[in-house]
Subunit: 150 residues, 2 copies
DNA sequence: TATTATATAGTAATAATTCTTATTTGTCAA
DNA sequence: TTGACAAATAAGAATTATTACTATATAATA
């Protein structure tokens, strides 16, 4: 079950790479797998730190460039942030984000209502809308309980 | 009419500053006024470049620090972005954003439907939601017409 | 297997943000 | 007013983040 979907994900990745005439190198594969297994939304540096265990000689630039390339061909996303280092998101299906103001974690959540939001008529006429996302901000449960203990 | 609301905005600014024990210095006032008059969502550097005309000796750091302070006390917002330099937003009333993928401009828009979005029940129980915003991405009209000419 | 285009590591450069410190400036109370 | 204190500023330096460059290595294709 798990294996099955992993397999599909990898296939999707490789097919998309080839469509864009990108070689599937061991580094790229490793970066993609690492990111898709990660539950967080890591920065380029975060990915770099983890991938180094597998590729001790890999450079930060390769990781960063690769992640940017991935976002260009649409196999990963770049999370909306507020000026901190860029963070990446392997989940390309429609979902939404909750940002904790205190600890900065970003939690994915799903909502059919949000997915089905209508684009305002005047906007739709004026702009081509390719993506929509609801971004909630606040305090997460972990931070909330921490605070109440103080 | 216009003057009236400008006045109110300034009062709001000064009152909020004082509530947070922040002095209303000429620099702060100028930065705030500049930002609220700006139709864009400028970066710290953008504000710095403009404000220099009024305060030739002001430092970039002062501008940047001031803007961050403003966002902390809630008189300006920080716009959600994707890794580019941080950008600021003087509009603190509920509104939403359209980001153009090509030219990067951010357009404010308003929608009662979006303002009234319900927070999913499970999220509301788990997290304290302080802010919600719908972020649309796509191609703006200017870029669209540019492209079709090619 | 040879060819060729692309990717990589390593290094350097640039850009963005934050920190440090000495000085200046407001604010408040007498 | 004036003096004392707290806070803000400017200037420069340091940190961090991102991107560019180049020689070498590698994968895909014929």
């Amino acid at each position: 079950m798990r294996k099955e979907s992993d397999r599909e994900l990898l296939d999707f990745f490789m097919v998309t790479c080839r469509e864009h005439h990108l070689r599937v190198t061991p580094q790229r594969l490793a970066i993609y797998v690492l990111l898709s297994e990660s539950k967080e939304h890591p920065s380029a540096d975060g990915v770099f730190q983890s991938i180094k265990r597998e590729f001790p000689s890999i450079s930060y630039d390769t990781v960063n460039r690769t992640l940017l390339t991935f976002s260009k061909i649409g196999v990963v996303g770049i999370v909306e942030g507020r000026g901190e280092p860029r963070r990446f998101d392997p989940n390309m299906s429609s979902h939404h984000h909750f940002h904790c103001r205190r600890c900065g974690t970003i939690t994915d959540f799903f909502s059919d209502d949000y997915d089905n939001l209508e684009i305002p008529r005047d906007l739709e006429e004026k702009f081509t809308v390719l993506n929509k996302r609801v971004v909630l901000e606040g305090i997460c449960d972990t931070c909330r309980t921490k605070q109440s203990r103080l």
